[in-house]
Subunit: 171 residues, 2 copies
């Protein structure tokens, strides 16, 4: 992240990254499948957290509320590292290749959510739509969280964005 922030993602070579870590280029690719992945490898634990939180949500509440609860858990985790998340996001925002990788990670989250919902008995297309809606809410909340000057925390923004989604779809 230091090198990507200093010289930009494209200008940074894998050899430079490996060198700063005291390793060789080859070793970098043993740990990360490609040059982008080093910025996203932490996402796996977030996906696990998300799915576990959804699976633990009470069956009595509506699917979209269960998804919101799971997103809250992820939001709370990210909120602990707000400055780190901001620096990381600035790097991603500066490079389309990194945005592509971020989007496929979000799509993977949506697929995992939909899968877990189906396991809870939600039928398609409701399961897919609830999952996609949840990710859309999270995306918007996350953008507000990193961009804004105000200090609202991420779980609050997730809740607020969900309320807004309900409002715009209730026509």
């Amino acid at each position: 992240m230091e090198l990507y922030a200093e010289h930009g993602f494209e200008q940074t070579t894998v050899a430079e990254i490996a060198g700063r870590a005291g390793l060789t280029e080859r070793t970098f690719f043993r740990h990360f499948s490609d040059k982008r992945e080093v910025l996203f490898s932490g996402a796996d634990s977030l996906e696990q957290l998300l799915i576990a939180a959804l699976a633990d949500a009470p069956r009595s509440i509506a699917p979209i509320e269960a998804v919101a609860a799971a997103l809250d858990a992820v939001g709370a985790r990210l909120d602990e590292r707000r400055e780190f998340a901001r620096r990381r996001q600035a790097i991603i925002a500066a490079n389309p290749e990194l945005q592509e990788r971020e989007l496929i990670k979000l799509a993977s989250l949506a697929a995992a959510l939909a899968d877990t919902l189906r396991r809870r008995g939600v039928k398609d297309p409701a399961a897919s739509l609830t999952a996609e809606a949840g990710i859309a809410v999270f995306k918007v909340a996350f953008e507000r969280w990193v961009a804004e000057s105000n200090k609202q925390n991420l779980p609050f923004l997730v809740r607020d964005s969900l309320d807004e989604l309900k409002a715009v779809t209730s026509s």
Copy 2:
């Protein structure tokens, strides 16, 4: 598309594509920024259609309905080339790099929708959420359209998916 379908996207070199077209590698890159883009260059006209349809929608209807009308227009256009769309989608489904490119194109559509909504006076975060909800609806409808054995057309599936989204968010 022929080469990608025959040998797979990764196994196909740009030199082969250029060769079959009677051109050189260098010329390929003049027309397409990268090897993936050749499958997505048609998306620009769809984005224009989408935005024009949204801009033309009457101000009297709710933003999400205006977005749905715009998605209908895109759906109708795609419906004319169902078999082509299916073959193209099979290639994309077989390769993560192509999925990444598809997702960033969809994100671009969402950004354009949100922008047009703002120009119509919709405030944020409602504009972003309406746009993201619209794209989510379209994604799910499109998946059903290419995957299903039944013969429902895309505009119908867009409408059906929107109704489903309204249902799952109205808790």
